[in-house]
Amino acid sequence: MKRTWIMVVAVVAMLSFTASAGTISGKVSGVTGESVVYVEAVAGKTFPAPTEKPVIDQKGLMFTPHIVAVEQGTTVEFLNSDKVAHNVFWPSVGGNKKFSKNLGTWPQGEKRAFKFDNPGAVPLLCNVHPEMGGYIVVSPTPYFAVTDKSGNYKIENVPDGSYSVTAWHEGAKNSSKPVTVAGEGKADFTLTK
């Protein structure tokens, strides 16, 4: 009986160890401003689409926030807070022009939503105000983070394991590297434009 209890405790301990939430942290350098770091798709693993709907506002002839990171399958709402006409379109998703989309025009105070099912960076544009630009970075996993302005980031709740982690920055080439998480993983990136 005593041996049985020891076995149970050992199994529970092992399970809790393998399912423990770790972190990936590091710094993105070589560029200034916010970047996005995310864990690439994990073979054989899928994640439920989040129910939360982040809002990107068009206000003062700007996309606010300028960069938004979401998980694949997320529905993003686009709000027009300006008293001028805007639209939202993107010429590609992750560089793939097949996923280009134009959402049209809608008046001040109204929103239009779109579900992003394909991972990659989405450059947001307005076809009457070409200076307006924003980005949605669609992460294939729920493990992602937007860096602070110094480039520091921390992705939390990442199960232990081996992953490929990618850093993205506006106008820079993506950089990916393998990371092993065992409670904690570290990955620094140096991006170039």
Binding site: G60, V84, A85, N87, T105, V128, P130, E131
Partner: protein, 500 residues
Amino acid sequence: MRFRGPLFVFSLLLLTFFFATASSFAIPAFSRQYGTSCTTCHVDYPKLNDFGKAFKDAGFKFPKDDESFLKVPPVMLGAPAQKELWPHTVFPGTIPGLPPIGLRYNQFFQYTPASANNYNPGGSTAGPNVPRTDFESGLFSIFMAGNFGSDIAFWVDDDLSVSGANSNGGLGDGYLKFVNIGRVFKLPTDSLSLRVGQFELDLPFSQARSINISPWDIYTQANIGFSGSQNVNNVFALGDAAQGFEISGGHQYAGYHYSLAIVNQNTSGTSSGAPNVSSPGGFFSDSNYKDIYGRFSYRFNLEKDSASRHEVQAAGATGPRDHTSLALGTFFFKGRSVQRIDGDTGVLTAREPFYRFGGDFSFNYRTFNLFGLYMYGHDDDLLLNSGATGFTPGPAAKFNGGFLEADYLALPWVMTILRYDRVQSSADFLSQSGGVNYFSPVGSTRNRVTPGVQFLIHANIKAAFEYAIRPQQALVYDSNGKALNAFRTNTATGMLEFVY
């Protein structure tokens, strides 16, 4: 005035070209203030899109909620609450947070066929030689515009140099516009504004914001007689800057629009004023009379959706765009040309009323714009009588003509243009020298077809090309009516321009 001849008229045409194109502007100052691109207001600058028209109508402000778009806050010249103290304080206003300065430079390359030099009939007179090819520096201009608060807008532009010569330019427009002063009289919004200063008349199609390299010929048409026995000597052209004031109302992007201007009379091209009468800015008029210009137009926005139809821009399936629309308009100008001639009994003054009137239309569908204008001009002509003691009525000098132009924005950075200009002028016939018509064969004065294409290298850098195709002309015909020394003045012109 005996020196008139081909050289004089050719020079006049050249000057007309430079001055008529001297004030085409886009406003980088607004880009800086609002942090927005030229294309927010322009379709291939300086041509305005619907939003640009609304911005201009509003006194160089966003039509709604202007403050929220300013990236550079204006400098307060008094707290807003000072309004409550007025008239015991200066009414508070603002100035732009950045000096609202824009600069513009352009340069040209031109090709003209050799036969253009047949312009000198018989080669008997050393006239201007038109080079086959020519590199030309154009204009370096400065312009400032903005809003001082309280809906008072301002504009000043000046050519710092023309054709590479310093200070050879001059003031283009300089005015204050008091927008929507009708609110003082409880009139409908935007039904009454007042503009005071020097400005381009409220032309159906602004020459100042034309995308063409060469101006529309009808706007530069003056009624100038050639022979000394004829006294039609009116240098006024509709595209000239005028000094005076203008009331206006309505909108350029939808519904009605009107303007009525009282401006200086100057048909001789020289100003008046005796040296013993001082004037702070010098005299511009050459007579007591003031000219009148009026315009009325109505634009029908043809969008099916009512909400979209009444907005500044239409809401298309792929984003905001200019309305599908049809605009119809009419205009008139009335003046009285004054000429003073030494007669036997002293100075004789001939007062020759003249008028211009016409109509215009503009049809827009997405990025295609077809528009045109027709104008008729009429100058009474007084002839010095045989005793040089007075005048007798002569044949009126008339002209008519206009243009038809199609602009198609093939890509957001590629504009294609096809235009037809025509001016038919009896004044040109009156200008006959030795029994021949001056400008061109009888019945075909100043008509041309001009295709063009323009490329926006960036939103503020443009490469433009046009080719003016003119009919064969001649100055002299033989007894059988055959043209001698016939020539064509087909002209290919390229332009590089940038504003910043």
